[in-house]
C-alpha cells in the first residue's frame, strides 16, 4: 500500500513537471513548482515509512518550511518586478 501511494506521488510529480514545462504564464510554472514541493514532502514521508526510518519526517517538515518560504519569495519578486516595469503603483 505504501509502495502504491509512493508510485502515485511520483506520477503526480511527473505531471507537475509537465505542467511546469508547458505552463504558458509564469504563474502556472510557480503553481507547478509549488505542487511539486508539497508532493516531495509527502514522498519523503512515505519513503521514510517504506525504509523504516522515522527520522525522515524531520526532513519532510523542513522541506515543507523551505518550500513555503521559497514560493512566497518568488512571488514577491514577480509581483513587484512587474510593477516596476510598468512604473505603476502597487
Amino acid at each position: 500500500m505504501l509502495i502504491a501511494s509512493a508510485v502515485a506521488i511520483l506520477v503526480v510529480m511527473a505531471m507537475a513537471i509537465i505542467r511546469a514545462l508547458l505552463g504558458p504564464t509564469i504563474y502556472d510554472r510557480i503553481l507547478a513548482v509549488n505542487l511539486f514541493g508539497t508532493k516531495t514532502v509527502l514522498l519523503i514521508a512515505v519513503i521514510g515509512f517504506l525504509f523504516g526510518r522515522p527520522d525522515f519526517l524531520d526532513i519532510a517538515l523542513v522541506y515543507a518550511l523551505i518550500n513555503f518560504i521559497s514560493i512566497v519569495g518568488v512571488l514577491r519578486y514577480f509581483e513587484y518586478s512587474r510593477n516596476e516595469e510598468e512604473g505603476g503603483s502597487l
Binding site: A8, I30, A60
Partner: protein, 106 residues
C-alpha cells in the same frame, strides 16, 4: 480485531489519497485557464495530503512518529492556502484575466 481494522483503514486512506492526487494532477494538466488549475492544485494540496498523512498516522499508531506527521499536516494545512492566495494575488496583479467564457481565447 482492532489492529486489523486500523491497517485496513490506513490502507483505504492511502489509496483514496493516491487517487485524489492523481485526479488533481490530471486537473492541473487539463484545465484551460490558470485559475481553474489553481483550484485543481488546491484539491491535491489539502484533501489528498490530509488523507495520505492520516493513513500514515494510522499506520504508525500512537507514537512520536504520528505526532510528527500531525505537525507536518498542520503546517501544510496552514501554509498551502496562504501560498495559493499569494500566487493568485500576484497573478491578478500581473493582470492575468480569468477565462470567463469558453470562446474568448486570450
Amino acid at each position: 480485531m482492532l489492529a486489523g481494522m486500523v491497517t485496513v483503514l490506513s490502507s483505504a486512506c492511502l489509496l483514496l489519497g493516491a487517487f485524489l492526487i492523481i485526479s488533481g494532477a490530471v486537473g492541473v494538466l487539463r484545465f484551460p485557464d490558470f485559475f481553474t488549475r489553481m483550484h485543481a492544485a488546491g484539491v491535491t494540496e489539502t484533501l489528498a495530503t490530509t488523507l495520505i498523512l492520516l493513513g500514515l498516522m494510522l499506520f504508525a499508531g500512537w507514537t512520536i512518529v504520528s505526532f510528527k506527521l500531525l505537525l507536518i499536516l498542520l503546517f501544510i494545512l496552514i501554509t498551502s492556502p496562504v501560498a495559493s492566495h499569494a500566487l493568485t494575488k500576484a497573478a491578478l496583479h500581473g493582470n492575468l484575466q480569468p477565462l470567463v467564457n469558453e470562446n474568448n481565447e486570450q
